[in-house]
């Protein structure tokens, strides 16, 4: 598959995530859209890994090319899991304090 297709697909998924963050008011949905953006980046990293590997195989230079990108994806998943646990704790605390998860109510810093 040409790498451009993967770039286009990952860009579309990332931009759908951006639109979700900008247009929804529910904090949990916004959080899910951030996960979507992380996954788009992961997909592109894996595609680039296989692109580098194909190039290295064709040139017979480095047979372990592309391993680093897949390990980056693994570490991104690790960080995302930690992020989700803290973020959902924050959302639950927010719901306990203001009885809503609407981000438009969280404007106390503004005035």
């Amino acid at each position: 598959m040409p790498i451009q297709y993967y770039i286009a697909l990952a860009s579309c998924l990332f931009c759908i995530g951006v639109v979700g963050v900008l247009t929804r008011r529910n904090a949990i949905i916004i959080f899910m859209c951030i996960e979507l953006m992380l996954n788009a980046a992961n997909l592109l990293l894996v595609a680039f890994s296989k692109m580098e590997y194909a190039t290295a195989i064709a040139n017979k230079t480095n047979l372990t090319a592309g391993t680093d990108a897949q390990l980056f994806v693994f570490f991104i998943m690790v960080v995302a899991a930690a992020e989700v646990s803290v973020g959902l704790a924050i959302i639950v605390m927010m719901y306990r304090n203001i009885h809503s998860v609407d981000v438009n109510f969280l404007n106390r810093l503004k005035h």
Partner: protein
């Protein structure tokens, strides 16, 4: 059209459609379920790229653990019956416009890039994504980041408990 291309287009269409449905669903539980479909489609892409370890980890960690956590929080604070108040129509309009502009910039910047011109991603073959190769590199070159990530998990656990506890 070979079976790889059919699978690629099917999984891409499934991922994009489900991602849009995540945004359009009124009920947050439906959004979570559509997001799980997105994760399965992305795992299918990983399998197509022969990154088997990441495909399994993606299903276990994302679809298995993280999404269950989301569902649990939604059930806990009882969001599934409440109707969400909608964003201002102008805010929606400009959100979609700015997302579309961002997509335009991504596509036009990458379309003519020299580094990715005429390159292809290897499908179905190549053993770089097998767990044997990844494990060797992970525990040799990336042993220190691996251990640091365990400290990150510990701090996230402590942070979640401290934030979530009733004072």
């Amino acid at each position: 059209m070979s079976i790889d291309e059919i699978l690629f287009w099917f999984l891409s269409a499934l991922a994009l459609f489900s991602a849009i449905m995540v945004l359009l669903s009124k009920n947050p539980v439906h959004s979570v379920l559509w997001l799980i479909v997105v994760f399965f489609a992305i795992s299918g892409h990983y399998l197509l790229l022969n990154a088997q370890f990441l495909a399994i980890v993606n299903i276990i960690v994302y679809a298995g653990a993280i999404m269950v956590l989301f569902l649990f929080v939604i059930m806990l604070i009882n969001l599934n019956t409440e109707t969400e108040r909608q964003q201002n129509i102008w805010m929606k309009f400009f959100g979609v416009i700015s997302g579309g502009l961002l997509l335009w910039i991504f596509i036009s910047a990458s379309r003519s890039a020299y580094d990715v011109a005429n390159k292809t991603a290897m499908l179905k073959e190549g053993d770089v994504g097998l767990i044997q190769n990844l494990g060797k590199v992970l525990f040799n070159e990336y042993a220190l980041p691996f251990e640091i990530s365990s400290i990150l998990f510990l701090s996230a656990m402590v942070g979640a408990v401290v934030i979530g506890k009733k004072d």
